[in-house]
Symmetry: C2
Subunit: 496 residues, 2 copies
């Protein structure tokens, strides 16, 4: 007789395999020897095959079918896991196994060739792999599709349940027009801000010391994490006691690593504080991208750009980099810190222009999957949109379409989550500030009330509760982009 | 019908799983977050279970049985793989699966507690895990035993085919008496050598720069490897294009990392240069410990202690660490470099006293498995032998019995391979110098003739040829400890 224990054992095996895959993925990006990509592709292909078998094989199928007949025998967690495992089953179970395995191998290779294309500053090296990935997804979409209106809706849905092109078009229109209005106002009123101190040389060691101290003050636990160097920063969690972050360094731009580390540590915080009862079940209870991103952005923007944080933190930073910033007053610093300016690179964008980078990617992805644009034409489309929205002339592929690893990893429909993350983060903040005085908290030196609020209202649930539910439970309201527009308007009022 | 292809596919799966295990093992020792040991133990247990199933399950059993009936259908490589896979099968297949899995988990935990015991300088923290490991091995030995005379012979045999206590006692007696005679002679004739320059401060970066340059001149390929920091240095090869090394640093003892890196790079060289035809079959063709060690020691001792190497390399070292060694002449340097002195730590021992450290471990292991000494008494026995052979009073566990990770990894019977490695290395060198002029080669700046000799006579065979065969093919003679005694006598004649 099939019991909840059988389901949990099967999901635990999937979780163990996912942890192994995560380790391999982390390693491939943090210093795996260059020549070994071909061996690693075989390892990753093998792991993907095993994962596929565990999550879609006959054993899982029988467990699901048996338990669905008798779901009253399961406790609440068991019923949740059953629903989620069924959803996964239907997602991958419809893809022929060989296709799935080949797709995983392609992703592994594509990430290698993306890195090589970056080195050569040549999209053409990467293009054939991107075409392959898109080709696979175009074949998979009809197998995944249920009642979604457009092919791209199918991809959006995978990252954010219920998200559609129709909804996003509306939200993004509101956000785009809000940003445009605000940017005009800033341009009109802007006093001349001198942010040249941001290019002063701060050593990697000084940056690391300050940023990791700050990340730990916000609760990131280094006994459950580590920091490495990569081209594109990320957080990879094997489990709640192993949530690793990475960063990129530029000794002439300390803001990048400081905010980048706060950002990735925000992701790490989430993973480190999920309730232990989900430990073995992580693989079918992944945390949604949007809510994950809301927590990295909470660190980076809601805290890392706020005045009340920097009033307290700036002297600490000054002291670590001394004497480099001794002559810069707090007001000069904070004005420079907020300086808004169109940038080529998404990860270097300020909080105001950031959503425009996302909207560009969103529109390109829509064009790929709904309008079947030729992959060879993507750099031109990319560059055209950067000109249109940000008034920037993209000089080359490295500065343009080669900047993100996401597509090489098969992640289409993922970018909008970053924008949703901004909106969620602002809505959480608006609720928190009703009961928590951020200014007093930072001044006290004990940042734990913020940590505790986030843990009890958000992190503990992991992926067991859908993001929109978490948002509504915590804030008493559905998603409302106005909180974000209000936040950035207030942030940049400092600038006028 | 079962074919060679079935066997090779099954062995390939075992090889893939071994690569994953190797990655996990490397990661656990190079910065895995401290709190995550319990999760990692589950992962390692799972991988061990899968490896056990692949190498001893019904599928493998049937393949072996079928092919053994019709071994003429296999090509030469197929027949070799069949023999080796059968040997593995008989080795692990006799152990109950649950025991095997539990043993692997225990090893994973023991390595954690070994590290914790080191931090606390307290053997007692580690002792229960060591007891468990020894307990498992004592239960396994009767299951492995064929015609071996003593229980410890069974363990020796696993690392070095045909090695026995009887043979080792003879070899080690010859070596021990040779060392004793030589040490007396050195003590009598020793001019007062000032090696205090070895404690001058050389930064980690300077050490890294010099040692990695030198390792690469000897052929270690960083596109197929990397260097990390660990407490106990090691080399871990996932595959021939991913042979990673680690080192320990002491800014007041640059000799340690320089020789340590040359040593580990010697292991890496071997792995990087195995013939690609064995790529998928590595798991049943592991390289024997003794021959592996002969190549690390070749780098470290046969080259890294030799005068002809340092005549050329010393100016390079001087220039990288300048001005730290500017006032030390070559003669002063080389005398200091060779300085022989009893040390507490095996990995810091000079080439002359090193075998005594091994002989101590050998005798303790013999006492554990053949004479059933109590595990609680090991530190006392350890300390007694260090007094007897090296005239050293071991002050604490950290300096004594806690220095090696090997036992925590279940490796008993392995240490003698280090001593055999010394003997093999000297015998290889004696043969090489008949046709290669080391002095000219180093002076030319092109060290490749040494690389090519080692590759064609040793490395290419990987684990496909037994060490004694490689030795005899390459040198025309069976193992003869006299080559090593001649080498160290000549080395230390410089000292008189």
């Amino acid at each position: 007789m099939t019991t909840q224990k059988d389901l949990f054992n099967s999901v635990k095996e999937q979780t163990l395999l996912s942890q192994i895959s995560a380790l391999s993925g982390w390693d491939a990006l943090t210093g795996m020897p260059k020549d070994s990509g071909h061996f690693r592709a075989e390892i990753d292909g093998y792991l993907a095959e095993k994962l596929f078998q565990v999550s879609t094989g006959d054993n899982r199928k029988n467990i699901l079918t048996d338990l669905e007949k008798d779901s009253a025998s399961l406790d609440e967690l068991g019923q949740l896991v059953l629903r989620k495992a069924r959803k996964d089953f239907d997602m991958t179970g419809n893809i022929p196994e060989q296709d799935f395995v080949d797709f995983q191998k392609t992703l592994s290779e594509a990430q290698d060739f993306w890195a090589q294309a970056r080195e050569a500053n040549a999209y053409k090296i990467y293009q054939p792999y991107l075409e392959k990935i898109i080709g696979y997804l175009q074949r998979f979409i009809p197998l995944w599709r249920k009642d979604e209106k457009t092919p791209y809706d199918v991809l959006l849905n995978q990252y954010e349940p219920g998200l559609t092109v129709a909804k996003l078009d509306t939200i993004f229109d509101q956000v785009k027009s809000g940003i445009t209005t605000l940017r005009k106002k800033i341009a009109e009123n802007e006093s001349i801000v001198d942010s040249s101190f941001l290019s002063r040389r701060v050593t990697k060691e000084q940056q690391r010391t300050y940023a990791m101290d700050a990340a730990q003050r916000l609760g990131y636990n280094l006994d459950k994490g580590r920091l490495d160097d990569t081209i594109h920063p990320f957080m990879e969690a094997l489990n709640r006691d192993d949530a690793r972050i990475t960063t990129r360094w530029d000794e002439n731009n300390f803001q990048m690593a400081v905010l980048g580390i706060l950002h990735e540590a925000g992701h790490g915080l989430f993973e480190q504080n999920v309730d232990s009862k989900y430990d073995d079940l992580r693989s079918v209870l992944p945390i949604s991208m949007s809510i994950h991103e809301s927590q990295s952005l909470f660190n980076e923007v809601m805290i890392g750009r706020s005045k009340e944080f920097w009033v307290v933190e700036y002297p600490k930073l000054q002291s670590i980099v001394a004497p480099t910033l001794n002559d810069i007053s707090f007001d000069q610093f904070y004005q420079g810190w907020l300086k808004t300016e169109a940038t080529f690179i998404r990860t270097e964008a300020d909080p105001l222009t950031y959503p425009l980078h996302i909207i560009i990617r969103y529109e390109i992805e829509k064009a790929i999957f709904n309008d079947h644009i030729d992959v060879a034409d993507l750099p031109a489309l990319w560059n055209k949109k950067y000109k249109e929205y940000l008034d920037l002339d993209v000089p080359d592929d490295l500065t343009g379409i080669l900047q993100d690893i996401h597509w090489a990893g098969g992640s289409f429909g993922y970018f909008p989550s970053y924008a949703l993350g901004h909106l969620y983060a602002a809505q959480f903040r608006a609720t928190m500030t009703k009961t928590l005085d951020f200014k007093n908290i930072f001044e006290s030196g004990d940042y734990s009330p913020i940590f505790e609020w986030r843990k009890s209202h958000i992190w503990q649930y992991g992926g067991a509760v859908d993001p929109n539910e978490i948002l509504e439970q915590a804030t008493g309201e559905a998603l409302n982009p106005q909180y974000w527009l209000d936040f950035v308007t207030r942030l940049y009022s400092y600038y006028n």
